[in-house]
Every structure is written in C-alpha cells, then in structure tokens.
C-alpha cells in the first residue's frame, strides 16, 4: 500500500508528467488556453490512461512476454491505444451522449499523446505489477490535469498582458511553463524512505 501511495504522489508531483518528464506537451501547450477545454482534455486523458494501462499491461504480460515478442511492444501498445480510443469514442457516443459531448472531441487527440504511450513504456521499464501500472496511469493523468489547470489559469491572464510581438503565442507560453516547472522542482525529495 505504501508503495502505491509513493507511486501516486510521485507521478503527480515529484516527476510530474508534463513539467518534469515532458510527456504530454503537445496537448498541454495546445489545449491549455481555456480552463474549460483544459478540464475536458484532462478528463478524457485520465479516462483513457487508466484503461490503456490495464489493457497494454495484460497484452504485454500474456501475449508478448510468453512468446518473447518484446520487440513488438511499441507497435502493439500504440495500436492498442488507437483501438481503445476508437472504441471509447464509439461507446460513449452510443451510451452516454452527454459525456461524449463533453469529452468526445478530445479523444482522437489522445492517441498521439506522449503521456499515454509513455506511461505504458514506463511500466515496462520499471516492471510494475498490474495494480501498480494502473495506479501509475491514474496518477500520471492527475499530474497532467494539475499542470494543465494551473497553466490555463496563467494563460488566461497572459491573453490580456502586453507582450513583445516576437513572443506572442507560443514563446511566452513556454516561458510561463518554465516558471511553473521551477515550482514543481520543489517537490523533489517528497518521497523518502
């Protein structure tokens, strides 16, 4: 249990996916303009991450490892993720239209989100158990959400600030991200013993 808790806090704060590991940057920079879209994307990411960790772990454990097909990990994982996203989209559309309206448009964007594939590659690297992998995915999603929400707040402020022409848009966003990233460094050392 203590191990799981450490994984949870670790992924959210100490090695925050976006601000520390640089996973999930593309949507982070692209979708954090408005807090409402940030929330939508975050929800979709957590949703997909948890499921993809579960499915990819099972595929790795029962399909790839027993047959010494580890080299097919990349291709298997990404296809699983793409299929999962497709599946989730279809199911949501049919069974839960309001949820689909809220999250649906972000779903296709998640397939190429480094954070999803990254989480899978990490559980392989660290040899996590099924539960550890899923908790890790959930935590990664939460960390992503945290970074995204913090950031959208900042960006909404930036919209009305006076910025040099060359910095408008992406550059100033990156500089702002740099500052937020510094604050997260303060969390290192949280997990001891």
């Amino acid at each position: 249990m203590k191990e799981l808790f450490a994984i949870l806090i670790g992924a959210i704060l100490v090695e925050n996916f976006v601000l520390s590991k640089f996973l999930g940057i593309c949507p982070f920079l692209g979708v954090s303009k408005k807090t409402s879209t940030a929330l939508g994307m975050s929800g979709a990411v957590i949703f997909v991450l948890v499921m993809s960790q579960a499915v990819t772990w099972l595929a790795n454990e029962y399909l790839l490892k027993p047959n010494s097909l580890e080299y097919l990990q990349t291709i298997t994982f990404i296809l699983v993720i793409a299929a999962l996203v497709q599946f989730v989209e279809t199911v949501l559309k049919k069974l839960m239209p309001p949820l689909y309206k809220a999250l649906g448009v972000y779903l296709p964007l998640i397939t190429t989100n480094c954070a999803v594939l990254g989480s899978a590659l990490i559980f392989v690297e660290r040899d996590y158990t099924f539960v550890e992998a899923v908790v890790f995915g959930f935590a990664a999603g939460l960390g992503f959400t945290l970074a995204l929400i913090l950031f959208s707040g900042i960006r909404e402020r930036l919209e009305t600030a006076d910025i040099p022409e060359a910095f408008k848009g992406m550059p100033i966003t990156l500089v702002a991200a740099s500052l937020v990233s510094i604050t997260f460094i303060g969390f290192a050392g949280l997990i001891i013993g």
């Binding site: 100490v14 090695e15 097919l72 291709i75 290192a188 050392g189 997990i191 001891i192 013993g193």
Partner: protein, 196 residues
C-alpha cells in the same frame, strides 16, 4: 459488402503482416548483437566496483537466496560472485535504495574479508550537481575500507573513524540513501561469509 468491410480488412491485415514480417527480420538480425551489448555493459559495471576480479558468475536474485536459507532484505536485487583465477574472492551486490528523486540502484563490491572494493550508483534520479555527486570519488571513496562491525553512519562533519561517512553538502538524503544501501549489501555478504 466486400468493398465495405472485407477489402479494407484484408488490406489492413496485409499491411500489418508485411510490416511485422520486416520487424521480425530486423529483430533476428540485431538480437545477438543486443544481447552481447547487454552482457558487456553488465560485466563492465561489475568490474567498475570490483576491479581485480576477472570473472563474475551469473547473479542470484533475492528470492533465490531466500530459498537457500539466507535472510535477505527486500531491497536486494541480485548477488554476483566475483572470481579471480577460478577462485571465488568476493561478491557484488546490487541493492535498491530510496533516494531524493526516487528509487536508485547501487552496486557494491565486497570481498570475502568484508573489504568494500567499490560502489557505484547505476541508476538514479538524483539532482545533477547535488545528489548526483554521490557518484564522485570524493564521496564514494569513503566507503573503501573494511566494513565496520555495526554499520556505516552518515555524519555532517569530518568523520572520526572509518565507520563514519561525511554527507555531501546539501544532499543529506542521497548520502543517507547510499549508505543504507551499502549497509544492507554488507549485511548480506556478512551472513554468507560468516564474518564477525
């Protein structure tokens, strides 16, 4: 019906099959080389902490050691036997420890007389410039003594004797974590060679 479902499926299947086939080929060609590289890297890292050994036997994991009746801490990953001229002269222990940036792996070379031959941080997330300096001789070399009767202790001043390790300034957590790992490694070897 054919055009709608069967044809696209067949084509997709063919694409997948051809791509996977190409991959299997590349894999078979590179696999021996990759295994070789891994072995070399492993031997190198072991020699790094035990430089006068000429061979290392395949490692036993923590679990395997437990079935042999040896009491092993959870943090022990593997035990390698170091040999020189065909004779076992000592061991290299790979042990985990929780550092500042998370779990880190330490290799400790210890001979049969419980002298520490070398230590090395092989994977870690410690802060560059601070905790990461644990891999510098200035800190590591403090351990190159005969293992103390009880254990190594971390102090923040100049050490009084060999059992005291001076912490890296502003990196006490890392220093303590490394020391803990070394202590556990020593404990394991001690229980095997039966030192006093």
């Amino acid at each position: 019906m054919f055009k709608e479902i069967i044809k696209p499926s067949i084509i997709l299947f063919l694409v997948c099959a051809i791509m996977t086939g190409a991959l299997a080929y590349v894999n078979s060609v590179t696999e021996p080389r990759i295994d070789e590289n891994n072995k070399i890297a492993e031997q190198e890292s072991l020699r790094n902490v035990y430089d006068d050994a000429d061979n290392f036997l395949d490692a036993k994991t923590g679990e395997e050691l437990m079935t042999e009746g040896i009491d092993v801490s959870d943090n022990i990953e593997k035990l390698y036997t170091a040999q020189k001229g065909g004779q076992s002269v000592g061991y290299v222990v790979s042990v985990f420890s929780s550092g500042y940036g998370g779990k880190m792996k330490i290799l400790v070379g210890i001979d049969n007389d419980l002298n520490i031959k070398g230590i090395s941080l092989v994977s870690h997330n410690e802060t560059p410039g601070l905790g990461a300096n644990a891999n510098n001789p200035k800190f590591k070399d403090q351990f190159l003594v005969e293992a103390p009767r009880k254990e190594f202790n971390v102090v923040k001043r100049v050490p009084n004797d060999d059992s005291e390790i001076q912490a890296i300034t502003a990196a006490t957590v890392t220093s303590k974590a490394v020391t803990k790992g070394v202590n556990e490694a020593v404990e394991l070897v001690r229980s095997i060679v039966g030192g006093a």
